[in-house]
């Protein structure tokens, strides 16, 4: 199958690759050995594949890889690039806001998006932003607490 060459910024670095037009963003990222965005439901309903494209959260399983051409892509792996965890990541640890950890990167990125747009979120903001992320271990009460802790810090 024919491929297309795309150029984009990945976690701050300019990159280029050839990709078939049917590949989604999760598959594209796997070519760069990034596995934090995970395809689970395959329908954009669970949020495990959350990635930021031009600072906006998208479902990587529904977003074609070729669409990131010319754009900036941020994945969970960028958050501790300097070695230190982000405030949100540390809050998730302190609140025990995950169990199996499979959905956690998606939640962490979505909370980053939430706090960027609402630095002091109320309960409605939290539920609104996180209603597109599911957690089968059901760490929801701890996740809500982690958002509040992160906002306070």
């Amino acid at each position: 199958m024919s491929t297309r060459t795309i150029n984009f910024t990945l976690n701050g670095q300019p990159v280029s690759t050839d990709i078939e037009p049917h590949r989604n963003l999760v598959e594209l990222l796997q070519r760069f050995d990034l596995f934090g965005a995970r395809e689970s439901c395959g329908q954009g309903l669970c949020g495990c594949c959350t990635v930021l494209v031009d600072d906006k959260a998208v479902s990587g399983c529904l977003y074609f890889g070729v669409w990131v051409d010319g754009k900036s892509v941020t994945t969970v792996e960028s958050l501790d690039a300097e070695g230190a965890l982000s405030i949100v990541q540390q809050a998730f640890i302190d609140c025990g806001a995950f169990q199996c950890g499979f959905c956690t990167p998606g939640f962490v990125l979505m909370v980053h998006q939430l706090l960027k747009e609402h630095p002091n979120p109320n309960d409605d903001d939290i539920l609104h932003y996180l209603s597109g992320n599911l957690c089968r271990c059901a760490a929801y009460p701890e996740i809500i607490e982690a958002v509040k802790v992160a906002a306070r810090r």
Partner: protein, 755 residues
Amino acid sequence: MKQVGRELPRLEVRAKVTGRADYVHNLRLPSMLYGKIARATVPHGRVRNIDLSAAKKVAGVHRVVTGDDIRKVIPEPYYGPAFHDQPILALDKVHHVGEPVAVVLARDPAVAERAAQTIAVDYDELPAVYDEVAAMQPDVVVHDMLKPAGTFADLKHLKGRTGTNVALDYHLRRGDIDAAMARAAHVIEHTFKTQQCLHVPFEPFVAVAEPGDDTLTIHTSNQTPSFVRTEIARLFGWPENRVRVKVPFLGGGFGAKVYVKLEALVAALAMLTRRPVKIALTMEEQFYMITKHPTTFRIKSGVDADGKVIARSCEVFWNGGAYADIGPRVTQKSGFTAPGPYDIDNISIDSYALYTNRPPAGALRGFGIPQLVWAYESHTDLLARALGTDPVAFRRKNILREGRPQASGTAMRDAAIAEVLDTIAARLDWDKPFDRGAGTIRRGRGVAVGFKASISPTTSVAIVNVGADGSTTLYTSTVDMGQGSDTAFAQIVAEVLDLDAGAVRIVHPDTDVTPYDMGTLGSRSLFHMGNAVRLAAEDARTKLRALAAEAGLPEGTNYPPAEIFKKRYGMQAGNVVGTASFVPTYKSPDAQTGLSDNVTPFWMIGGAGVEVEVDTETGAVRVTRLVNAADCGKPINPAVARTQLSGAAIMQLGFTLSEDMRLDGGQVTNASLADYKIPGIRDIPPMQNELVEAEQHSGPFGAKGLGESGTFGVSPAIANAIDDAVGVRITSLPITAEAVLRALRARDGKPLKDE
């Protein structure tokens, strides 16, 4: 104690919040092929012809494989923990929609998927059976002949049996049920049903098999690595040491990923192609892999004039779907708790595992207990109401107290049933006036308690290595799928060896390296492996003391291990390996009476209390408060224990209010998260999670298992609260607004038309 009881964050927190935790999902190997499965489109039929011609022509397809090809590497390709009933790929017959029939292998999974869709299969369709009670009659027989695995003594008599769908019948008789029913002041009977549900681990099933010269390595998202090794070796006719099973973290398990699931298939494909093979299911495919048993439970009680339950008969029908999986164990191991945690002298239990043409059912967080508690706690509430007694007082009068024998004849020990009930009642302010709402919004409250025996007897082995610098590593085959076992075991090792638990390293299951464990299931790990870990650490401590004596260090002095090694070997060298195994005692139930005085090494106790609002115009139910309580012995890590309780309860909330696999002609019509609704962040009621501290005297530092206890009481507590609010009784799960509205309208003599 310094380490046990600490609220230490999980050891793997950093890997999980950074997205770098190791899952099989991430694994890619050189020259690896991806497999995509072509699945049966009919629920029951003989395979007449499989047309692979179009699939083979798709560019990029490496090979297309059917059941006949599997036979070239595995002559008898049937597997299963209780029955060898499941073919790796369909052979003569298919038994449920979604059964694997063929596999396409390609370097590109998209190519394999496209080719798999072109495979056309002709069937001679057979009549199908879906209902567990209907399957009691042999009008439709799912399997031509029963093939018990031979590992379980109580299944041997079923070998070669034909003309039946009953994969196990378990019977218990205690006292004189007929006489007691005859003299009871009240005899009340109900029937309750549960629906087919799904585990929905967010990491769908995935496995990779990697052939070596005369070995095979399987990387798999599985809760039972030791079992997988044994079963794969059996299929190939190999010694176990040629099979290596490695398990990193799991993206959820909940009982789905036990025993063999994808492993036999990828193993056979890897041996056929001599290439690494990976199969990763989609979410939709998960709906056809393994599910939760639908059940029908007929329960009848005789109550004397004082409100004491003197007789209870239980008939439970477990819908196991097309393959037995571990269903026969569920039928027996859970069956004997069917009368509930009550002190009843006269009991009969008849519990049946049934084959049907649904997708197979197995273990799901509670091993059948939530289905039983749903029935016996709904029924118990109805008894109390029929007698005009307060439901909590009625339970207190009948509850099993410490030392009293349970239905099986096994005495309750270290089982804080009454304390769990009391805690729930206290948190709900049960004795205080309650706002019952007004107009179209009515309020009610309900409680329920349940209990579970541990699967027994099962074995765990642990190895503790103390290195020459004193750093310590634990080797176990327990799988940490989010429950926090790595962290709990580190705390146990650290407590024994006087270390910081955060510095103990855990080696994840690798059957070439880590010792045997029966499996991470049934809340057994903390008790069984926890005991093995404690004993292994004690063994290491004893050996360190011996080494200190060899080194000429005075007895009773407290030298750090690094100094002992240096003194003994003259440099940073050597190591000490502590090992231990743990297997509890057990007595099989008597073949005639089903009784045994030692059915379990410990009891799990869990319960829930809820407050609900019911909208009488729509039937909508809102849970406004949920109190969860469980006897967890002495918790090793209270913070992790509370999240287990909370997570289990929320999962059961989904099974209570929304989750329901809908079938049409055997096909699941809602096999996606769009239509099969699991709880989201907006569905969480205000919750309290209470660890009722008791002591499990035979457990490691007084602890016991907890992973399932939070599921027990949720469903019946909600049904009881709805009855309390509006006086209607829901007897089938899930409790949808439609079901409540239908019940309300029926009560008012204005029934809604059927669908």
